[in-house]
Amino acid sequence: MKRAIAYGSSPLLTSATPVWRSRLIVAGFALVFLGLGARAAYVQVFGNEFFQRQGEIRFERTLELPPNRGRVLDRNGLILATSVVAQSVWAIPENIDRQHPQMPELARLLDMPPAELQRRLDRHPTFVWLRRQLDEQRAAQVRALGIEGIHFRKEYRRQYPEGEALAHVVGFTNVEDVGQEGVELAFNAQLSGQAGSRRVLRDRFGRVVEDVREVIPPVDGRDVQLSIDSRIQFFAFQRLREAVQQHRARGGSIVVLDARTGEILALANYPSFNPNQRRNLSGEQVRNRALTDTFEPGSTVKPIVAALALERGLVRPETLIETGDGRLTMGRFTIRDIRALGTVTLNEAMKASSNVAMVKLAQQMQAREMWEAYTRIGFGQRPQLPFPGAASGRLRPYESWRPIEQATMSYGYGLSTSLFQLAQAYTVFARDGKLLPVTLLKSQQPAQGVPVFSPQHAQAVRHMLALSAGPGGTAQRAQTVGFSVGGKTGTSRVQEGTGYAENRHRSFFVGLAPAEQPRVVVAVMIDEPTEGGFFGGVVAAPVFSATVQQTLRVLGVVPDVGVRPHIVADLVQEPG
């Protein structure tokens, strides 16, 4: 017996292969398969966790799904702020060919000098931002240059179509889409929303191939609808800007309130800024003066003192008050009127804005009464507004008032308020003695006020305000065509160190219209006018007049005063 394997029946094909060789081969294969089996068992069972993790690291990615920031809308649903997609350009400087022929073009598209671009690329070898939030069109042009090492990241950029007219109210966000000022800051939580996420498998080219687990969808931020009417806002801002420029003033503010609902229809400040281009901003521009700046309100508090005097039964509107030659001496101080009035009724004293008459009324009151009245209309208290930096003003406790201080407080010195507080205070006269809560968000129903004065006394003071804006009053320039108005001027000296500056003034006007059934309350402040007068009746009242005129038209209020037609067009004979 041959110990060999026969491969065929033909004797020609017989070979003398020993059996052990084939056994060796079989054993070798068996060993290899055993090895494979062991490896498979190791990969699948014993070392499974490690390999699973490595696989995840290589191919699974968690993608963050950014939420859309909510929009800010005006009362008619027009967009005041919204987010649009923008591309942020970043670079890996190591991979960039510095001598690339398109480098100057890149610098031009990124809006920076070529040297600055090179300097930026030197900052870090592997990552530098070249430009955050470039608009899509520009980004596409940059992409078309085809420079290696330049990358893009999708981000959102806030756009403010109203520009500087509403900059202070709406505010702005930073590059990370977090509110920094105004409504963007105050309502940041509501606007922001919540990011979602998804876990995906990516292939070799980075394409998403499969969702690994359930997608968590992002929760978009909610829209905020403000009470602002962008048309009224624009008119108010425009008139304010004209007045500030005409009188070469340092700045100014205006507040327009709806006297029925307590909504803020407009709130503007000048100087302002363009929220879409926020380079080189100064505090002067960014400050929301109407809310953050406090000042001595001057004569604009007189109606409050008068209302208090009526309420306490000290006087009636026709009561005669002796103002003499317009001087009143208290200790070392002398209180003066602008001109001597003699003996006048309270109505007339208010119309001429007599300091002496007010001091005489205040002398019959207790300090506590005055303090309470001022406090109840909101002086010295932070306004109930969700707005960053709204000032409370200053009203010292009545225990520390000296008699001279109580006297000056009756004509608006020795306490401070913001323009916004002043405007809110005047809702008392517009709403028959009730102080309205003020809101920046749109509301439909009429607001319920807090009673401060009785209706007939508030109406009596409203009548005085109308007289003040009538013929012979201090505020004649507040009159409008078609609508009756009432209001009070104010002019106060600017504090300088411990005293008052001689030539620096603030001019105010606070008023309401129409006088019989007020629909709006408007407060105007012009800071340090230097040309063309400084009295509130000359500087601030015309702004009030123009704003009221347009506001009431926009609100669709029927004119309550007869209008002489102003159409001056002639009949033109058309040829033919």
Binding site: V84, V85, E162, Q238, V481, F483, V558, P559, P565, I567
Partner: protein, 129 residues
């Protein structure tokens, strides 16, 4: 017995192939869905962008500037405004036509001094050159 096995083998093979095909189909549809989602996102952001653009172009500042500079218009004021009141009880603008004539409260034409010339309708052709 052998025949049954062959049939089962055939079924098994068919099932395996269909599994492969289904997986391929799922991937393909997933990619298509991704693409459609991306397109929807892009269109939404484009829409937002266009809305902002529209709003910027229609911003009061720009409109006012164009109206006064290019069209020589000026702000309205009550002296040149005719005020009409809808008859009460007509139930808003929709019922105004049915409820009879509107009442003229105030306006330039109502004043006795002004000539009661008929005005051309706003939308009549030939008013503007």
């Amino acid at each position: 017995m052998t025949r049954l096995n062959l049939v089962l083998l055939g079924v098994l093979l068919a099932s395996a192939l269909s599994l492969v095909h289904q997986q391929y189909e799922a991937r393909r549809l997933f990619v298509a869905l991704e693409r459609a989602n991306a397109a929807s996102d892009r269109l939404a952001s484009e829409h937002e962008q266009l809305q902002v653009q529209k709003r910027t172009l229609a911003a009061p500042a720009r409109v006012q500037q164009l109206a006064s500079a290019r069209l020589q218009m000026r702000p309205i004021h009550p002296g040149i405004t005719e005020v009409l009141a809808l008859p009460t009880g007509s139930g808003g603008p929709a019922g105004a036509e049915a409820a009879g004539p509107v009442q003229r409260l105030q306006g330039p034409v109502a004043a006795p001094a002004a000539p009661a010339a008929p005005r051309p309708a706003l939308d009549s052709p030939g008013v503007r050159p």
